[in-house]
Symmetry: C2
Subunit: 356 residues, 2 copies
Amino acid sequence: MDRLKKTTIQDIADYTDISIGTIDRVIHNRGKVSRIKKEKIEEAIRVLDFNPNLLARTLVLGKQYVICSLLPEAMTPEHYWSLPKRGVEQGAQNYRDFGIELDSRTYSLFDESSFVENAKAILERNPEGVILAPLFERESTWFIRQLEKRKIPYVFIDARISGHKNLSYIGPDVKASGYIAGKLLDPLLADGDAILIVNMVKGIGNSAHTGTIERGFRDFFKTAEGKPRRKIGAITIPSMDEREVVRELTKYYLRNPGTGGVFVTNSNAHLISKYHTDHELDIRVIGFDLVQGNIAEMKKGTIDFIISQRPIYQGTQAVRSLFDFFVNKKMPTSIQYVPLDIIIKESMDFYIRCQG
Amino acid sequence: MDRLKKTTIQDIADYTDISIGTIDRVIHNRGKVSRIKKEKIEEAIRVLDFNPNLLARTLVLGKQYVICSLLPEAMTPEHYWSLPKRGVEQGAQNYRDFGIELDSRTYSLFDESSFVENAKAILERNPEGVILAPLFERESTWFIRQLEKRKIPYVFIDARISGHKNLSYIGPDVKASGYIAGKLLDPLLADGDAILIVNMVKGIGNSAHTGTIERGFRDFFKTAEGKPRRKIGAITIPSMDEREVVRELTKYYLRNPGTGGVFVTNSNAHLISKYHTDHELDIRVIGFDLVQGNIAEMKKGTIDFIISQRPIYQGTQAVRSLFDFFVNKKMPTSIQYVPLDIIIKESMDFYIRCQG
DNA sequence: AAGAAAAGTGTGTACGAACACACTTTTAAC
DNA sequence: GTTAAAAGTGTGTTCGTACACACTTTTCTT
């Protein structure tokens, strides 16, 4: 059969009657080549549509790219932070044969020193690139200064610190996520219903982050045209302990009857919806992230909407961006907002199964 | 530096003092190898964690895999069918160096014979795999019979025909998409509001398909607990000509005042929302697919929800499934439902930018 | 016990690109 | 007009794997 293979350097050589050595020099713009031959070769490359075979190139160069990732630790396998981690690992796996080697590290959200320790170990290792979720602002700032000093490129995922020379931020538009939550929750409520915003702070909470979400959420209700203003309350629960949650919620609801909907600004909506079930309250709930707890509650119908920020994709995309930067010298887009997936009970399964 | 490379066959050879030829035979379970050496090698593979380098393997085998895709033609570049096509092409591009070669063909939705012609050309070409959107049921049935006779594996994308030996279906759960549309539309409406379902049939419409969507949609309103029943009307517009649309809609609305929401079962919601704007009607609209027309209308706020079935991803995933089947002999999951993305004005941009 | 068949093993070449090296031709210097 | 530097060019080896081929050893057969 024809089965026409791709054109190779040898094809260019045959076509132009020039050795592959010279062609190689033209391709890499290295060494001396006469103008005549150079033009002839460049034409042949166009005419025969030559594209260097990345496989062969990778193989012969034999370069290894070490990527270190530093993400928060998932306290349980069902915890949110296990997802970006899985994404990063999956991404590294995809590019394994291309020389990508991953050193995946985690730090405790309750312990800045664990961050610093791992950061130091990463600097020690002198990797080709770093993937960082910068939840500790002070320590992260210090870390990326060190990276910049050593000219090690890094990308942020899931969160970011402004004003630094990171290659890219891959994560949600946080403010938009709050706004969207507001827009989705509102039509589920009756006219007079009030709203409660629940911030849960576990470990060292990223307060700037939750603040932005809340602002986005309130923005919706400010800008909504023609809608009656709603009463919006907010509480901050400084723990994830169940008893603590129960106590704080009870305190609030006793003082604020008429709450029709709750917006949970992190991945713990399931704690709130469980409370509602236990106390036979008919209150709408919207929260973030397809973690195990939320999945179960959503299935029961006690959570109405989950907004997901493609945590796995964030990880794979981070690796892909670094790889493209290493191999193709392609600067990634500096802000890569992930889609904010709006998920309901009926569409949940599709998201769980599609690990894209 | 350490920069420890991956273990290679040669490493296994050094470790076991056996030649790479024998090791190769163990890996491929071919030829004769003594039990002693075989076990020694298998142990070394485990201990040293050997994984064959896919790049080197691909390079030496030099096999080309021709994939033919047969999708409906996009009449304009903004048309829905340009998206799965782009996905397929992008996917093929990704695996180009691995020997994937794409022959991308389209057929007219108005002309069965164009389907048959292209199908014949594909059979002629005798490709390693086929990607098919089987919108013409009769002709598709004939085609896949031919493929089965020739033992050419094929995957369906976007639509499917049951009872055949396709490798995989990659597309939406059509019924669920209707149900979800119902669930999203309902809370946007006032209590007494009625609903209109618009089916537009262009070319040879896949009537089974739209029927299923409509059934899913109505199912929501049947099973919705505690909700007052809504009046649900439906019209079928046998054309996409604007004047035709205007006439049919006017006819309906004149007879059915009190319609608060419209569900458009294909990608032409923008035609309906434009009508509403022109006639100063305040009616909610939900439809499918992020095509140019819908994007513009959504931006104006005249469409409330778009449900997207990841058309680009469908294409890339189809190629990936075939590639995995060719190279890793991995049978794909037989039904790969894509996530049904629920998109609103505020989340639209993220989806447009993220071509994942 | 000889010889053939079967079982078991190692070597060499190929894939496509990169690069070191060696080699030839041109140019410049005096 | 000789020589050296600069410019220009081709060859050979390498990466990790697959496979054809050649080769050695063991096992049957009669």
